[in-house]
């Protein structure tokens, strides 16, 4: 990873009539970084990608890729990128190999031994017509087409849709390898585990607003922990709810589960004053819980 900026947006905004699909987005993706772009369906992920690729034009703001303006220099930009669109569609009457040849002819610089290597890696059948392939197998062709000219920047919109777990793993290792060689990867996803495994940083978007931008490691170190407490008698949920840093309390007789951020000492102090604590286990929260936490904060802020 270097300090150079691969993707840059400034006040990027897209309205569809009254719908504000993307609002004032400022984002810098560094070269060689794997950036995970997270958000629920309809949050604005695809709008952002289509805007920086000049498929649609921003209502306000600008974007640049590899230092080039996303609109004025869009053709030059596209020499250096690979793209997997969301809801990938290709030409049903072409075989996988025909499809790749078509795009290779438009793009140039495709090394066919690399294509074959990728096809083998993903166990992709290039001789069948794309229309005859299952959606997962079609997705493989889409992924190969994005990687085949070894682009400097890869922009992918939910690329692992339809891939089986083995293939998802293979895809993740491909992304890591490519990033290690200096390529930048912009990965939009709602599959948190995937982002957790590969991304260096994540941005979280909701209702067109970027609501968080963090390194994956620092998200983890926010110290949100999942805590299980066991008592010798049934306990009252009311006791735990109002405590600072405590969320998601569920009580089942003697057993309490909650997520907690803050000093463990304060939690234990309050708890042990009221009840006899028999056992406690804690573990680091995964991205999913962090993610849900962000959304709740946002919702509370709006309410």
């Amino acid at each position: 990873m270097t300090d150079q900026i691969a993707i840059h947006t400034e006040g990027l905004t897209k309205h569809y009539g009254d719908v504000h699909a993307l609002v004032d987005l400022d984002l810098d993706i560094r070269s060689g970084e794997i950036f995970g772009f997270l958000g629920p369906n309809g949050a604005g992920k695809t709008t952002m990608i289509r805007t920086i690729l000049d498929e649609i034009r921003p209502t306000a703001g600008t974007a640049s890729i590899l230092g080039m303006d996303s609109h004025k220099q869009s053709v030059e930009i596209r020499r250096h990128i690979g793209y997997v669109p969301g809801d990938l569609a290709m030409y049903p009457n072409l075989t996988g190999r025909d499809t790749l040849t078509y795009f290779a002819n438009l793009r140039g610089g495709v090394d066919w031994s690399y294509v074959d290597e990728l096809a083998e890696r993903f166990d992709a059948d290039l001789s069948k017509k794309v229309g005859d392939l299952s959606s997962g197998n079609r997705q493989k062709i889409g992924i190969i087409q994005a990687f085949m000219n070894r682009p400097e920047t890869l922009i992918m919109d939910e690329p692992s849709n339809g891939l089986d777990p083995l293939m998802q793993r293979e895809f993740q290792s491909l992304m890591r390898g490519v990033a290690a060689n200096g390529s930048t990867i912009f990965l939009s996803s709602h599959t948190l585990s995937e982002v957790q495994r590969v991304a260096d940083r994540v941005g979280i978007i909701r209702h067109g607003h970027l609501i968080a931008l963090e390194a994956v490691t620092s998200l983890r170190s926010k110290g949100i922990r999942k805590v299980d407490l066991f008592f010798d008698e049934p306990v009252d949920a009311e006791v735990f709810g109002p405590l600072p840093g405590v969320r998601d309390v569920t009580v089942e007789n003697h057993h309490v589960t909650l997520s907690f951020s803050g000093q463990m000492e304060t939690l234990l102090k309050v708890v042990t004053e009221k009840y006899r604590l028999l056992d406690i286990t804690t573990q680091e929260a995964d991205l999913e819980e962090i993610f849900l936490t962000f959304y709740r904060d946002e919702e509370e802020a709006q309410a």
Partner: protein, 553 residues
């Protein structure tokens, strides 16, 4: 058996084309009747019987019967039938192409009931079209104060309903058996074309008049329902056909595997599979087909081009030469009976000369339709088609300009137009040689070139509409509607006292008004058509560059 919601959804999905068609036809009818009202009709009543029969003019020809004959039972019938045909083709097979059939049949409903509900939507929409046209046919004369005494407008509309449902159900049956809306629409359109031509041509050939009865179109208007009322025998023939097709559709749809694949099998795929042609075809279909955007675009419509070019070459070209010799000698004396202005109303042409014969049969209407079918198909889908299929984003992720995509697709469109133009040229030259008609090859080439440019102008319009809206339906129906209106306007405007100057403001004027089959190439007119095409192309680039790409689904 009827599924109300399937019926409602199908009706809701498909109401636009019928509404646009009926609105255009109503305008045409009003316009036509106004024009007929303004001209001296004695020229019609003095026509030889033979000619009157050919063009559906009754003996006591008046304003009303001319308007009904030319507009409603001519263009109107073809339009309504074509729409019923498209609906029929897409009935069941359309859901398979869209891969929605699995979802639909995931509900506890039988294939038969889905088929019936969708067919009912087709019947209702077709009936609604004829009903509205009926009202138009009754109200327009009232407004214009034209007498329609003795006319059976309702009978004409009933015949129209029968013939359009006949072809609608034929398309439905083929779609039900093959699962391919393209095959269903294409095959049925082919049958419609042959039937229309056969029913029109055979009555002209002495000794073969009865052969016309082999063609379904005969049962639509041979009995002159607008003058003579409903012919129940003829309706019975069409109804029997509809019955057979519906039965076949029910059987077909229940006996086969549902299609779950969007990929079709093209001619080149078959050649690719055959050991003899494998090597060449593989190179053509594989590496060559995808080497350029325009080659790939051309390969996608190869089937359509092949059929249209073949029809123009064989049926409308070569075959008509010898046929001219078979026509009743009475035709030769027709020339004296009426003015050349009058003849131009029927596509222009004097049947007593081979040039006039070819002008009426081939160049007047069929050649423009043929070239436009291919240019509009390519033009309307060039941009909007890729957007509808969500492939435009992927295509434009490559380092190509939006304008490059347009230019490349235009190359494919131009090649298609010139191929059909050349097939027409070669066919007519062949027919002229075969019948020893002695037509000028240079003039045939000029006319073919002009029709090619005319087709390109309308293809350019389809391209521009697609570039502006990203919607294939708007591009296709908008262009088709305008082509229909301008075609009829071109035939009628010169006879209107006040509006005759307007005729130069539409493309058809620059095609045949210089009579190129007799006089050779009119370069000024050719340049006007080419200029219009270039302007529309430039407009397409401008519109497409400014716009957000559509994303569907």
């Amino acid at each position: 058996m009827m599924l109300a919601n399937v019926f409602t959804k199908t009706t809701r999905d498909r109401w636009k084309a019928p509404v646009i068609a009926v609105a255009s036809l109503a305008l045409l009818f009003l316009f036509g009747m106004m024009t007929y009202r303004d001209i001296d009709l004695s020229v019609y009543t003095n026509l030889p019987d033979y000619f009157k029969q050919l063009f559906g003019i009754s003996d006591d020809a008046d304003v009303a019967s001319l308007a009904y004959g030319a507009i409603l039972s001519g263009y109107g019938a073809l339009t309504v039938t074509a729409i019923a045909l498209t609906m029929g083709a897409a009935t069941f097979a359309g859901e398979e192409r869209d891969r929605t059939i699995g979802l639909l049949l995931g509900n506890p409903k039988s294939r038969t009931s889905v088929l019936i509900s969708k067919a009912a939507a087709m019947v209702v929409l077709t009936a609604a079209m004829t009903l509205v046209l009926w009202v138009v046919g009754l109200v327009t004369p009232e407004i214009l104060d034209v007498s329609i005494a003795g006319m059976h407008v309702g009978a004409l509309m009933f015949h129209l309903l029968a013939i359009s449902l006949f072809f609608g159900f034929l398309a439905l049956a083929i779609g039900a058996w093959t699962g391919s809306p393209g095959v269903a629409a294409g095959a049925t359109a082919g049958v419609l074309f042959v039937s229309f031509m056969g029913a029109g041509l055979f009555p002209l050939v002495e000794g073969f008049e009865d052969l016309a009865k082999a063609f379904p179109w005969y049962y639509f208007n041979a009995s002159k329902p607008e003058s003579n009322g409903i012919d129940w025998g003829h309706i019975g023939v069409l109804a029997a056909g509809i019955g057979v097709f519906s039965g076949a559709a029910v059987v077909g749809v229940n006996r086969r595997d549902l299609k779950d694949q969007a990929a079709g099998v093209s001619l080149i795929d078959r050649l690719r599979d055959h050991p003899l042609t494998h090597k060449v075809a593989d190179r053509l279909a594989g590496s060559t087909r995808v080497s350029r955007i325009w080659i790939k675009t051309a390969s996608e419509h190869q089937g359509l081009l092949f059929v249209v070019a073949l029809l123009m070459f064989g049926f409308m070209g070569v075959m008509l030469g010898p046929m001219y010799l078979l026509i009743d000698d009475a035709m030769a004396t027709l020339a004296e009976a009426f003015s050349p202005e009058l003849l131009s109303l029927f596509g222009g042409g004097d049947m007593s000369t081979p040039e006039g014969w070819y002008q009426i049969e081939t160049f007047g209407m069929m050649a423009p339709i043929a070239v436009m079918v291919v240019t509009v198909a390519v033009g309307a889908r060039a941009l909007a088609g890729e957007e509808a299929r969500n492939t435009m984003g992927l295509l434009l992720a490559n380092p190509v300009k939006r304008s490059t995509v347009i230019y490349q697709k235009t190359v494919a469109m131009a090649i298609f137009a010139f191929t059909v133009g050349f097939a027409t040229f070669a066919g007519v030259v062949g027919g002229s040689l075969l019948g020893n008609l002695g037509m000028s090859i240079g003039n045939i080439a000029a006319t073919s070139l002009l029709v090619t440019l005319l087709g390109l102008a309308y293809g350019g319009l389809a391209l521009a509409l697609g570039a502006a809206t990203g919607r294939t339906r708007i591009a296709t129906f908008g262009t088709t509607g305008l082509a229909l209106i301008t075609f009829v306007a071109n035939g009628l405007l010169p006879y209107s006292e006040n509006l005759s100057g307007l005729v130069k403001w539409q493309p058809f004027y620059y095609y045949l008004s210089s009579d190129p089959l007799m006089n050779g190439m009119h370069w000024g007119h050719g340049a006007a058509l080419a200029g219009l095409f270039v302007v529309l192309l430039a407009l397409s680039v401008l519109l497409f560059n400014r716009r957000d790409l559509r994303q569907t689904g």
